[in-house]
Every structure is written in C-alpha cells, then in structure tokens.
Amino acid sequence: MNRAWLLALGVLATLIASMTGLVLLPDKQLRPTEPVKDEDRDITLPAGYFGDAEEGRRVYMDLGCIYCHTQQVRPEGFGADLERGWGMRRSVARDYIFDDPPLMGTMRTGPDLMNIGARQPSAEWHYLHLYDPRITSPGSIMPPHRFLFDLRRFADGLPAEAVRLPEAFSPGGPAWIVPNDRARRLVAYLLSLDHNYEVPEAR
C-alpha cells in the first residue's frame, strides 16, 4: 500500500460506508414518516411550529438551552423519565419531523423539556423562572436571563404580560418584570412543547 491514491481511496471508503449506514439508510427508513391524525380534534400531530413559537425556537437555540436540557423521553424500563412525569410515552422519530435541527440534547443539568408545555402551562411561571430560576426552583443552577426583561417600579401603564416579582426578589419596593419580544417568543415555544398524544409505534 505505497500508492497515495490507493491509500486515499481506502480511507475514504471507510467513511463513506459509515455515512451510508448511519445517515443515508436511516433517512431512507424514516423519510416516509407522516404526522398522525387526531380524529377528535381534527388536527395532525406533531403540529409543527408557527408564529411566535417558531421564532422562539430560534431563541432557544441561540441561548444554548440545549447544553443543559434534553428533549427526548426515554422508553419504559430505561431510566425513570416516565416515572418522573416527563411525558406519557417515550419519544419517537415521528416527534421530530418538523424539527430542523432536532434539539434532543445530551445533558440533563436541568430536566427534560419534551413536554414542558404540558407540565408547566403557565406563562407567568416561565417568565419568573427565566428572570431568576431561583424564584420558582430553589437550589437551581440555571443562569438568570434578566436581559430578556425590563424591570418596572411603578404599576402604571404595565402591559398585560407584566409579572410582579415576589418581595424576596425585589429589594427596594415592588417591582414588575416585562418580557421583551424574545422572552415572549421563547415562552411561546416552551408552551408549544407537548407530545402527550398517542402514536402507533409507542403504544
């Protein structure tokens, strides 16, 4: 094996083989996957992301939420995701057909968010949690995202989304936080994360 081209061909062949096996073949297998039809509500699921939720997904990506939060529920008997109430069923490939890119994650410094919209449906909770995670979750090591909010000291002229801070977190008198556009979109995205519906492959 002393010819450059033969060596080059050999090493390229090994990589092309694994690319075929690990990317191209799975894509061929999963490409025909379609959303499931929910007869009761006359919609198809997953629904995909629209409007604020779609833009909020971009905020989730640029703030790097993925480095501490997964979006995948492990199957029964593997870990304790279902017992922890992180979802009613395991996640399947179908759940991600509109995810570009999928935000499955590999680290759980914080809990899984695959169904956070169902588990924590209050926008107000999310605003407080994003502003300072220790308001809602004592002992959390999630970074505060104060840069997504305006702090107001007076009750006059507050927009509807304004949330009053608990006294322990507003030294110097009453204070309200007003989410900016990015915070509103991010929360819209988080509230859209709900995969608690049946799919044929995870019955």
Partner: protein
Amino acid sequence: MTEASQPLPTAQDERERLTRIQIDRSCRQTVVWYYSSAVFWLLVGSALALAASIKMHSPGFLAGWEWLTFGRVRPAHLAAMIYGWGSMAGVGTLLWLQARLTRNRLPFPTLLPATAIIWNLTVAFGVVAILAGYSTSIEWIEIPPSTAILFGFCIAVIIAASIRMFRSRESSHTYVSQWYLFGAIFWFPLLYVSAQIFLHTPAARGAVKAAANWWFAHNVLGLWFTPIGLATVYYLIPKVIGRPVHSYHLSLLGFWTLAIFYNWAGTHHLIGGPLPAWLITVGIVGSVMMFIPVVTVAVNHHLTMVGHFHHLRHSPTLRFVVYGAMCYTAVSFQGSLQSLRSVNEISHFTHYTIAHAHLGVYAFFTMVMFGAIYYVAPRLLNAEWHSAGWIRVHFWTTAVGMAIYWLGLTWAGWEQGRMMNDPRIPFLDIVRFTVPWLWSRSAAGVLMTIGHLSFAWLFWNMLRRRGAWLPGPTLLFWKRSAESLPEGAAE
C-alpha cells in the same frame, strides 16, 4: 526510523543532519504560524472554559450580559478549543511530520501560511458568531455553515501539499504515522462538508439529523484528532528514546481496524433515544469493536517504551506524549464500556460524559500536542525552551488538573445518573448534590489554565528566541551522562 543513532558521527550522519535542518527550515513559517495561533486559541478557550465552569456552580457570575450567558460561552469554548487550539496544533504537527517522514521540503511557502491566517479568521468568525447568538445549536458544529467553504479551502491546500510530498518521497516504505496522517487529512474535509450538508439542507430530516450530528461529532475526535495524535505518538516515542516501533504489523492492524470501526461508533450518543434500534445497536457494536485497535496500539506503544521509562524524567516531550498515549488507552476502554446499554442508562445525560470527553480531547490529544510542540518548535526556531522550571509547572498543573477534573466529574456524574434513575429523588436534590463537584471542576480548570499560561509564556519566549542557541536540549533535569543518550534523544 531513518534517523538511526550511531555511536560516532559519520559523513552520512552529517548529510542526514543537514537534510533535517533544511526540512525544518522549510516548515518554519507555516508551522510557527499554526502553532502560535493554536497557543492563542488555547488561552481564549481556557478563559471561556473557566467562565462556563464558574457559571455552573455560581449562576450569577457574569450573568448580566447576553453574550456571556452559559449557553453561549460553553459552545464558544468548544469551538475555540476544537477548531482553534486542537485543529491548528494538529495541522502544524501534521505538516511537519509529513515533511520529515517523506524527507521533503514543505511546498507552497506562501499559500500554506496563508491558510493559517484564513483558518484563524474562520475560527474567530465562528466564536464571535456563537457569542452573538448565531449558534446553530448543533453540538460540535455550532459555528455557521459558511465556515465549510473556508475550512474546505485550507484543507484542500493541505491535501495538495501532502500528496505532493508523498509522491516525491525518498523511500518507498511508508511509516505508520504517514498512514494516520493521510487518513486524517482526507477524513476531516469529507466529514465536515457532508455534515454541514446533512444538517443544513433537507438531505436528512428530523431525527436523522441527530444521527448525522453524532456521526460527525464522534468522528471529529475519532478520525481527525485521534489519527493525528496517534501519528505523533508513533513518531515521537521512537524518536526520543532512540529505538524503532515494536511491531510494524501490529501498527498496520491498528490503523485499519480504527479506520473501519471508529466510524460506526457515533450513534452510541443516542442510546435510549428516538431512533431505530438497529441504528443504535450498530453504534454499540462499532464502539465495542474499538477494543481491537486500542489494544493493538496500546501494546505497540507500551512494548516500544518498555525499559525506557527513565527517559520520562528528562524529556518534556516524552512526558507529555506518554501521558497522552496512556490516556488514549484509558479513554478508549472507558468509551467502549460506556456504550453498553446498562452503563449508558446511568452515564448518559450526566457530567460523566463531560469527564470522558475531556479525557479524550485533553488528556490524550492536547497532552500529545504539547509534547509535539516541545519537540518541534526548537527545531523550527533554532532556539531552546528558556526555562525547564516553567515546563515542569506546565506539566504538573495540567496533569494534576486533568486528574482532578476527571475524578470529580466521573464520580459526580455516575451518582447523578443513579439518582436521576430513581424517581423518588427530587430533581433539585440531584442538582444540589453535583454543586461541590462542579467547584472541583473549576479548581481543576484554574490549575490547567495556569499550565496554559506557563506554556504560552514559554512559547512567547521561544518566538523571541530567549532560550539558548540550539546545540543542547532543554532537559527537565540535567543528566550526568547526557553524552550517552542516543542522538534521537537529544532534544
């Protein structure tokens, strides 16, 4: 090895020596550019790493700036270290090794240094893009897809230089390092460009993009850093101790089994995830099969070293390289075990994985690159390292720092995983449990950063040629019988 040691210098030895000097001189500009840039990115990456580490246990630290929020600093750290420090130190070493192995001067004396500048600008663009909020949020490839064109151009020039040197090599025998380098140089661009296509075009969809992500990310380590690191180990250990590699046949077996199996291991990052079971199983099989190349390489390196461990006391290069080679064996064994479902059920999604990743990229690859720079830079600049003391500081802070890092996070991660799998334990209790170990990581990070600063200080003085003119090597301790060292050992 072609540079066999002789008791008395002959006319032939003298010619050999002059050829080596000419080769090293031809590499000077390019490789010094790559190495200096690598050291710069090492410092940038360390600063970002420390910030990220401190934020994990003290979330209020630098929390006011969106640019410096944890979710941006962490991927910026990875980009600076992988594409800045690791890749640039790797390319510098790769070019020098190929020039030495083929006994050719390094071609393209203007184009190759230009690629170093382009590479720097690309990494800088990527790191700033991540901090500014343009991360792709795809692990290991957060930098924008447009970088594929720039990296692609640089690698194309490097491939052209490699082929040119290879075709006009003096001996028809191909040393094992050359195989690994050839692998790395062809694998990386194919991997990088095709991953960008799968991830940013409809060529793959939904969950398959995650498979493509881990096919890429795992192979950056397996088919880019690992072959460059192993090529360096295969070259430097025999060089420094002055005896050939234990077995040529074992090294060939090691190379081709790595080429065949490492490729397939990536999907072990998705065990328990929403992908077809066969795909995950393939990843596990590939990971377990990695025992073959790993044992092969470990046996070969160890049998080469046997009886020569006393050189570790004197040679800084050997110390770093042997530390790295041993950690390669350790990280690979750990990796194969970690891919088993029963282990992965606990270790996945925890700090255990972070410790494992650093054992690979840092304890193995980075330490080997430190060793390589200690060997190569004096030959390029005709000057010696100006202080053995700072080299010792560098070695001990990084070696001990890495050990603390790995032990703390491996233990904490394992417990974290066990607690997470017990639904009776509230999640925030697990978070509280990990905090002291996150502090231990920051302490380790401070040590490693002190090491990097010492190294940067040494390198800066090397560039200014503060050290002695080359005739004698910087040894960590002066040896009574230095003259009895084989020629290859004189560094």
